[in-house]
Symmetry: C2
Subunit: 179 residues, 2 copies
């Protein structure tokens, strides 16, 4: 599964503690994979057991010690093997659409309000991504390294995802508001 591989990919760059990974996941990585704290800790435990990552306890003053994880040779091999396997596009599972399907059971305003709320959330997220784009990628894209381009591609995916969602919300609101 992909959480393990996302962690391995992240640890490929530098060492992280579980907590650091969680923060990174809730911030920058949110646009390609989402995971809770508990999931990350458990996955780290599994990966260490199988030898794909190794930890070192860093004593800290004034705050709890942290366990810093690094990827091992074995982990890099595991990641490479996975990269060579094909992956299927992920299934769509969107609660809002299920609600739209059943919308006739409640007053029309209920579903319209809900779509508007989602539009608002996506607009918010879009502006977060736009901020990141401006901060991290102000230069010409062809000046970037391959690695940076890869990261930029995922950010562009997040950006266009939010734009598509907003456009759909507008279309649906127009369609379902008519009398």
């Amino acid at each position: 599964m992909a959480l393990a591989h996302t962690i391995l990919a992240t640890l490929g760059d530098e060492a992280y503690s579980g907590y650091d990974l969680w923060k990174k996941f809730s911030q920058t990585s949110a646009y390609y994979w989402q995971a809770s704290q508990q999931q990350i800790y458990r996955e780290l435990g599994k990966l260490e057991k199988e030898g794909a990552i190794a930890s070192e306890i860093i004593p800290q003053e004034g705050r709890p010690n942290k366990k810093l994880y690094k990827i091992t040779e074995k982990g890099i091999e595991k990641l490479k093997d996975w990269l060579l396997e094909p992956a299927e596009p992920m299934a769509i599972r969107e609660e809002l659409l299920v609600k739209v399907i059943a919308a006739e059971l409640v007053p029309r305003s209920v579903i319209l309000q809900e779509i508007k709320r989602h539009r608002q959330i996506h607009t918010q997220q879009l502006s977060v991504y736009k901020e990141i784009e401006q901060q991290k990628f102000p230069e010409q894209v062809d000046q970037l390294s391959f690695k940076q381009k890869c990261f930029y591609a995922t950010l562009r995916c997040g950006l266009s995802y939010e734009s598509y969602r907003i456009a759909w919300c507008d279309e649906a609101i127009a369609l379902l508001s008519e009398d």
Copy 2:
């Protein structure tokens, strides 16, 4: 969770057997919720246990008997209650993006090939949705009933999702092909 509610919403229109639901899910409903046969049968069992749906065994000649499920009053209430609760946009979990993040570990052609393969799958799915749009909604959209408009809105979501994915694949291929 939404699978139960998707089933309830579907049974709101007419009675279905588990097998019929599965077929409907793999065909028309694929663009808002996906579920396997086993998930559907298990969920039907749970829903019947809690009294949200009721079944009737239909003896058939020449093929196995089927268990037809209908929604109950209790099920309709359950569905309505759920419709009134807000839902959060679903988390993005896209394996392809994890692969893009880790792409530097393998030859560039590996990830480019994979993106092209995904582009092909999305193009295929887009044409399926376009076919459905032409077959089921050739008329003026404002002529449709509210219920039909709701269904159409979900189809439009599927259509624009596939278009967005194809556009992203093109962007990513262009970005990552440069030297």
